[in-house]
Amino acid sequence: MNAIGALGLSRVDAAAPAKMVVEGASKFYQARSGVVHALDNVSLEVREGEFLCILGPSGCGKSTLLWSMAGLHGLSGGRIRLGQEPIVKPHPEIAMIFQEANLLPWRNLEKNIELPFELKKIAPDKARIKALLERVGLKGFETKMPRELSGGMQQRASIVRSLAVNPSVLLMDEPFGALDAFTRDEMNLLIQEIWMETRKTIIFITHSIVEALFLADRIVVMSARPGRIQEIIDVDLPRPRGVEVQSTPEFIERANAIKAMIDHRRA
């Protein structure tokens, strides 16, 4: 484990105030095959403004953890706080980005992005939406229906939808998992840029070691059944990171170390 610890120090000040805190989170749920122990005593502090990746095999409870942090699920035990506020239901400061964009197919792009405003019964912030659309390269596509957009464009629209209401925490549930490798690289660069510009706190779920290393300040590695935190790794690669960083020896060395650790635990 020392080898992992030696990967480097976090760039984000460890003394930064905790933005979100998970304390002893446990979750059991009833499935057809019996009771599933999805989370086992997970404790985690997310620092203000950091990019945290949660990495783990499928079924390790990482989505369950994220949905609980979004206030969409209850926990069987433990607590989640945003600052001092307990999270037991969705919170306006927290926005979620889902797998596969999750746009409403019966609304055009503009109406999709205005959905959160509609639900909150406030007037849409047209200027902010316009600026965000321009930022992600979707200007001029406002009247297009989701099926007319590529997967990458759909996911960019869903990012705009979440950012439009200006949350301070973004929860991302394997957002680029369904995209092809090239689009995925593009989206990873975009989300890094947006994070550096806006300084949102981002918690990002992935099962790709490369994606986690590329994006994260810290990687939380989870193991499956029951879902537990196995290791928390600081990533000290300098920012902004370009796609080419993925082929540097430092990057590959770190990726191999994480892989070895996961393999070792599985065996």
């Binding site: 206030g71 969409l72 969705p90 979620m96 989701p146």
Partner: protein, 283 residues
């Protein structure tokens, strides 16, 4: 109104006369492929209609088919115009019965579908009875309803509601059952209330199936209206069919059939348009 009708009748009437079902389905697909129809296609469609009407006119003349077996399109058209003052009150009765019965049946069916799909257990209990209502011809109840309510509008409106409501319900329920948990979670993550989830997510998602239900339900309603008028009614187009056939006045008989075809096609076109407007995302 008259001149507009005259323009329409030959087209629809001819399809009804000559090819029956095939002609109708041809009309359906011609509609379905609409939108990007070129001038050439329109020309061919009109040409075919003219050939069919003109051809049947010519053939019926050549073979001297008696009018009481199959009147010529021109005779049907003429009958429609001369008989119009006597037919239109019945047309109004039929349309009103259909609209009222359908409105009652469809609203109950829709609300029932929206409520029952929220309670899976209740749904399991209710569904067999709804299926029973869908599969049993409600026409069979008309003599019974006549005994209770007389020969007025009531038994026919009840029969129409009973025929169309379950159709609307069973299709809408299929729509409401298509829950996409991710989309509901999305709405909840932005603080949506249960009511907002219903109006912004569940209803739009079910909309394509709701429209299918309304279309099929209203066509079932039309069948039942006419049937009920034939079985137990002193008025309405169904009653006219009985009347004209008993008098062997075939041109008038076919004129009424033409009107029924126009009502049916109008219903189809209307819901086709509604579907294009409100549920085109699932094309």
């Amino acid at each position: 109104m008259d001149s507009q009708l005259r323009d329409q009748i030959p087209t629809f009437g001819a399809k009804q006369d000559t090819a029956g079902g095939a002609g109708l389905s041809g009309g359906f697909s011609a509609l379905a492929s609409g939108g990007g129809r070129s001038a050439f296609e329109t020309f061919i469609i009109i040409l075919v209609a003219v050939v069919i009407i003109g051809g049947s006119e010519l053939l019926l003349g050549i073979f001297q088919v008696p009018q009481y077996i199959m009147p010529k399109p021109s005779q049907i058209g003429a009958a429609l115009i001369t008989e119009w003052p006597f037919i239109w009150p019945h047309l109004v009765v039929t349309i009103c019965e259909l609209l009222i019965g359908f409105a009652i049946g469809a609203s109950i069916g829709f609300v029932l579908a929206a409520v029952i799909t929220q309670f899976p257990f209740a749904e399991k209990i209710v569904t067999p009875y709804i299926l029973l209502l869908v599969t049993t011809p409600m026409l069979a109840l008309v003599p019974l309803l006549v005994l209770r309510f007389g020969f007025g509008w009531e038994p026919r409106i009840i029969a129409v509601a009973l025929a169309s409501g379950p159709m609307v319900m069973i299709n809408s329920a299929t729509g409401f059952r298509r829950v996409d948990l991710a989309k509901i979670a999305l709405a909840r993550s932005f603080g949506a209330s249960t009511f907002q989830i219903f109006t912004k997510i569940r209803i739009p998602m079910a909309m394509p199936m709701i429209i299918v239900g309304l279309m099929v339900g209203s066509i079932f309603g039309l069948l039942t209206t006419v049937g009920a008028e034939m079985v137990g009614g002193a008025e309405g187009l169904g009653n006219r069919l009985n009347y004209y056939s008993s008098m062997i006045r075939m041109p008038q008989f076919f004129a009424v059939i033409t009107l029924l075809a126009i009502i049916g096609i109008s219903i189809y076109v209307f819901f086709f348009w509604v579907g294009k407007k409100w549920a085109n995302w699932e094309a």
